[in-house]
């Protein structure tokens, strides 16, 4: 190696060293986002045949007619409804459980505290099969309600975990201060406890929504003849994948990104206002 070459080599090593963190960050981000990019790109595909696995040509047909595939939007609506009610149920119950676990000393509190985490640790397929056994033994009609009951059940642990962390870090003196300032128990809860616990509750609710909307294994076991969106995608993947699936996927991703951006804008504005 002559000196010129070694100098160039040295400069580029230096450049790499200085920018290593940025490069590593970008690579990781790419790793995280690449699947979403593929989904988005293929939502503009115009595939030949039934499978949307090879790029053919640009087309907005699927975007113009998102419900053009038989039964797909119906299954989407079922999933959204279940996710909504499961989120509501799990968030209300989970918040109450979290408060009870943090605030009150009762018998078997330790046991409850550990048992509540069991659904998170248990393999989903085991839970799905045992739930089905339970429902069949009870003579329950499989469908919307059995799915909802199952979803609330497995979302609960996540909500409890999220809310508990927040409630535990809350200073009990804040509620005492509220009481000292003429707020009765109900006012104290509405004006102080709930607003301070809100970020934890919101995190739990978002998690519950994502988990419920997304769930396949437990739903598939306990759905009867009801078809949710993940079940529809799975089912159609055997016969052919309509581009509309990518359209729905992309739309969900965009909604999530918009929500994140909106919350960032709001908190930025609040910070600037405060300063």
């Amino acid at each position: 190696m002559d000196t010129r070459q070694s100098r160039i080599f040295g400069t580029s090593v230096n450049w790499l060293r200085r920018h290593f963190v940025v490069i590593a960050g970008l690579v990781t981000l790419g790793y995280l986002l690449l699947p979403n990019v593929v989904v988005t790109v293929f939502s503009f595909n115009n595939p030949k045949g039934r499978f949307n696995y090879q790029w053919q040509e640009f087309s907005t047909d699927a975007w113009k007619d998102p419900c053009g595939v038989a039964d797909m939007c119906g299954s989407l609506s079922v999933s959204l409804q279940i996710a909504f009610w499961a989120t509501l149920g799990a968030t209300v119950l989970g918040t109450m459980i979290a408060f009870a676990l943090v605030r009150y000393r009762f018998r078997a509190r330790g046991a409850v505290n550990s048992l509540i985490f069991l659904p998170m640790a248990m393999p989903e397929v085991v839970m799905a099969a045992s739930l089905l056994t339970l429902f069949l033994n009870l003579g329950a009609q499989l469908g919307f309600w059995t799915i909802l009951i199952a979803h609330i059940m497995f979302c609960l642990s996540f909500v409890v975990t999220a809310v508990k962390a927040r409630v535990m870090s809350m200073d009990p003196r804040l509620e005492q201060a509220a009481q000292d300032l003429y707020a009765g128990p109900f006012q104290t809860f509405i004006r102080v406890t709930l607003p301070i616990a809100a970020p934890g509750i919101a995190a739990g609710a978002l998690l519950a929504f994502a988990l419920s909307f997304d769930d396949f294994i437990i739903t598939n076991f306990n759905a009867g003849s009801t078809v949710t969106f993940p079940m529809f995608v799975w089912g159609s993947a055997q016969r052919g994948t309509p581009v509309q699936i990518n359209v729905i996927g992309t739309a969900m991703f965009l909604v999530a990104v918009l929500l994140v951006l909106a919350s960032m804008v709001v908190s930025n504005r609040r910070n600037r206002h405060k300063a």
Binding site: R173, A177, L181, A183, G184
Partner: protein, 381 residues
């Protein structure tokens, strides 16, 4: 205002036990309307529990709490005309300063709060900060918000739970004066809980010294300092030199005691222990009352004074005064604070000295109690 007793706080036989632990032993206490009252003691002495029982945040095991003529023992905190400034303030993090201060008014259904809140924020010099969140303010500012949030409700009694504990020394001094000013201005009864004896003495009209769930002594700061009745008070409030002695005789209102061969004299009125001849007492004197004379000049000391001989073990120069530790036969670590007016260059470690003070500055305590009670509590501050 002085005739109005609606702001009196009366505790009768109030106590608090947690399982087998007694936090507060049955306690009687009356705090008159408009006074600045301090509950002073080391952590765990029951002072905060007492305060919380007045606020209604803790239910007494026995006894009653009266505010003026009204018994409030069974009332929940949100129905008592009492407000609290909490330790580390407990400001609502999700509300701005204005809403924090307006909280109490709003909960009582008062609609137009703007004028009142602004006036109150001006009183504590925070008018500019109304729209900030608590975490954007400094410790001293947060402390003033906490005071404003409580005072705006014009409570009959304001309770302060270690309100200055989180501030640095300089700010603490400043806020002590500030709180004293506000109290004089609004004329509300203040009950202040603190472990800082200096803070209690600077601010309060009356101080109750608490130890292990009991009030050891109650009185004005000067009274407590000059006439401690227990070794705990003598050691916790400032520093005391305590000497074990034996009563020799009593003549004309004076008690003569013997300690390690020497004789000391103290006024009978300042002795809280029985003074039967041959009985044991603890003789005390504050370090700043003592004069230090080099052993060579011992002849110049007036005869009427109490005197003890010893050698200087250590000195530390702290500007306005010099602190000496004297090794003497009656007490191995006798402390003396001398003003730096004319410094005697011979007073260095190892030098033989005579300590002497006026008999009138001597007090006597019951020898049946631990001589070092309250010493460590103070050292831990």
């Amino acid at each position: 205002m002085t005739n109005d007793s609606s702001g009196d706080v009366r505790l009768s036989g109030i106590s608090k036990t947690y399982g087998s632990f007694t936090a507060v032993h049955p306690l009687d206490l009356t705090v008159p309307q408009g006074s600045f009252f301090a509950l002073l003691g080391a952590s765990g002495c029951g002072k905060t529990t007492t305060l919380r029982m007045i606020a209604g945040l803790e239910e007494p095991t026995s006894g009653t709490v009266h505010l003026g003529d009204q018994e409030v023992t069974q009332l929940p905190p949100y129905k008592r005309p009492v407000n609290t400034v909490f330790q580390s303030y407990a400001l609502f993090p999700h509300l701005d300063i204005f809403e924090n201060v307006a909280f109490g008014l709003r909960r009582r259904g008062i609609r137009s709060v703007k004028k009142q809140v602004e006036d109150m924020l001006d009183l504590v010099q925070l008018g500019e900060q109304a729209r900030k969140r608590p975490h954007q303010l400094s410790g001293g500012q947060q402390q003033r918000v906490a005071v404003a949030r409580a005072l705006i409700n014009t409570p009959k009694v304001l309770l302060l739970d270690e309100p200055l504990g989180a501030l640095d020394l300089k700010l603490r001094r400043q806020m002590q004066l500030e709180l004293k000013r506000i109290q004089t201005e609004v004329g509300i009864t203040f009950i202040h809980v603190t472990h800082d004896q200096e803070e209690a003495m600077t601010m309060a009209d009356t101080v109750a010294v608490m130890n292990a769930g009991r009030v050891e002594q109650l009185g004005s700061p000067t009274d407590l300092y000059e006439n401690p009745r227990t070794t705990f008070v003598a050691n916790f409030l400032g520093t005391s030199n305590l000497i074990e002695a034996e009563v020799d005789n009593k003549t004309g209102g004076e008690v003569v005691v013997r300690a390690a061969g020497g004789k000391l004299v103290l006024p009978e009125t300042r002795c809280s222990a029985p003074t039967t001849t041959g009985g044991k007492v603890l003789v005390g004197v504050r370090p700043e009352k003592i004069t230090l004379t080099h052993a060579d000049d011992a002849g110049e000391i007036p005869t009427a004074r109490n005197r003890i001989t010893g050698t200087i073990a250590a000195t530390s120069f702290i500007g306005v005064s010099t602190q000496y530790v004297i090794d003497s036969p009656v007490c191995p670590e006798f402390e003396v604070y001398a003003q730096n007016i004319d410094r005697d260059a011979r007073l260095v470690p190892g030098a033989g000295v005579v300590l002497h003070w006026s008999p009138a500055h001597t007090f006597g305590l019951d020898a049946a109690q631990a001589i070092d009670a309250g010493v460590e509590e103070e050292a831990a501050l």
